[in-house]
């Protein structure tokens, strides 16, 4: 699920943070810049793991803070192909179901990757797996085990609010990092089926 990625970046330490030990101030700055953000082709950054190398830092002419070049390791959420993960069902429609893991939501299981013999019940809004005469419902909010088929990264520009509307929340249409998964193998699907 999680990997360690080595990054190098130049971060600023503002004077109000000079009282903190330098390492702690840098970790806070790294977290402020990267936590919960997707880096293209890397994954969803969680927190900094540790700092490998810090240089002395310099003050840029006409600026009032310290620039420090840091080499650090970041914990990144990037599942590998064929990894088995657990989450819970967030929503379902005719195209498939969407699964969420709390901190990461863009997990899709398309209709072609559902177990053999499952159909979408439009009336109830859930998928049903008909197996050996049993009707197994894939209800919402149920914990589900799935296998990752593909991780896709898309270059997206930052979300913008709509023109003319002051209060609208900027909504990005396409997720920059999404997983395409399957529950078609034995052992996958709702946890309650296999316990």
């Amino acid at each position: 699920m999680f990997v360690l990625v080595v990054l190098r970046d130049t971060l600023k330490v503002v004077p109000s943070e000079f009282t903190k030990p330098r390492e702690q101030a840098l970790r806070d700055e790294i977290n402020r810049k990267y936590a919960n953000r997707v880096l293209h082709d890397i994954g969803l950054c969680m927190l900094v793991h540790d700092l490998l190398d810090i240089d002395e830092g310099y003050v840029q002419h006409s600026e009032g803070w310290l620039w420090v070049k840091v080499k650090f390791r970041m914990i990144v959420f990037r599942p590998f192909r064929d990894e088995v993960l657990t989450g819970w069902v967030r929503s379902a429609n005719a195209g498939g179901i969407e699964v969420s893991m709390g901190f990461f939501d863009d997990i899709k299981i398309s209709a072609s990757h559902m177990p053999e013999g499952s159909t979408y019940d439009g009336a109830e809004g859930v998928w049903v797996w008909r197996y050996e005469g049993n009707e197994l419902y894939i209800d919402l909010e149920e914990p589900i085990r799935f296998r990752v088929l593909e991780t896709s990264f898309l270059e997206v520009s930052p979300p913008r609010p709509e023109i003319g509307e002051v209060d609208s929340v900027p909504v990005s249409q396409v997720p920059p990092f999404s997983l395409a998964c399957t529950i078609a193998d034995s052992g996958l699907g709702l946890l309650s089926w296999w316990d």
């Binding site: 999680f2 360690l4 990054l7 130049t10 919960n36 914990i75 064929d82 197996y131 193998d185």
Partner: protein
């Protein structure tokens, strides 16, 4: 020409002064003439030298007011720092795989640190950090990694060293803690070909030993009834799946 010229001219003027000492010997009042000559020579030299040096290293420099100051300040007065900062560099896209347990440790540490520092002492923690810490801890709290420890994972690694499992499979065993054969078949690729049934049972036992959990006793009671049903369901779906792939 440079600053050395001042010294050479100074030496020349000295030479002229010494010359003046000998030139006026035949005059009526040699001391007066000598004083006059040497005084004139030194005053003129000083006036020239000061003007020359002031133009060689001016203290007050003319500046243009339509340019940024850091782009034309002479580099010999400032250490070489380019105004442009380098962008973020990725040095290693995947240095290591982390178990959920290790990540949970870091998350908990960060969460404890937030709780300990008084909110008034420093600015509020940025929203993205608190969101990711809270949600990730919540997600991982529902997984088997909450009861794990570094010793358990080390023990698991050493116990399973004999079997030929890939790093990815070891990682998933630690993260998912499979309790049944079905789960093992999911995690281990080509499970049926690489391991026999007894080896898999042994593996399950090893996992249960090295990563103990409270819900094991509850699971054991149901094992007798469910294991048979689960295993046969696995076989049926497996054969159906194989038929589809072939």
């Amino acid at each position: 020409m440079g600053g050395a010229l001042v010294f050479w001219v100074g030496i020349a003027i000295c030479g002229l002064c010494v010359g003046a000492l000998f030139t006026f010997r035949s005059m009526a009042d040699p001391t007066l003439w000598r004083t006059c000559a040497i005084l004139t020579l030194s005053c003129c030299y000083l006036m020239w030298a000061i003007t020359y040096l002031a133009q060689l290293h001016p203290i007050i420099v003319p500046k243009r007011d339509d340019l940024r100051i850091d782009l034309y300040i002479r580099l010999e007065f400032y250490p070489q720092r380019t105004p442009r900062r380098p962008d973020m560099e990725v040095l290693d896209r995947q240095e290591a795989l982390l178990t959920n347990y290790e990540v949970l440790l870091v998350l908990r540490e960060e969460s404890d640190r937030h709780k300990k520092t008084p909110q008034s002492a420093q600015p509020k923690c940025p929203e993205n950090v608190t969101t990711v810490v809270f949600e990730a801890i919540e997600c991982l709290s529902g997984t088997p990694c909450t009861s794990q420890s570094a010793e358990q994972i080390a023990a698991l690694k050493s116990q399973l060293a004999g079997l030929e499992l890939t790093k990815a499979e070891l990682l998933q065993i630690a993260n998912l803690r499979p309790k049944s054969l079905v789960e093992l078949h999911l995690i281990i690729e080509e499970c049926g070909e690489r391991f026999t049934m007894e080896e898999l049972e042994q593996l399950l036992g090893l996992i249960r030993e090295t990563l103990p959990r409270d819900d094991d006793s509850r699971g054991a009671e149901q094992d007798g009834t469910d294991e048979g049903g689960g295993a046969s369901a696995a076989m049926d779906v497996d054969s159906a799946g194989d038929g589809e792939e072939a």
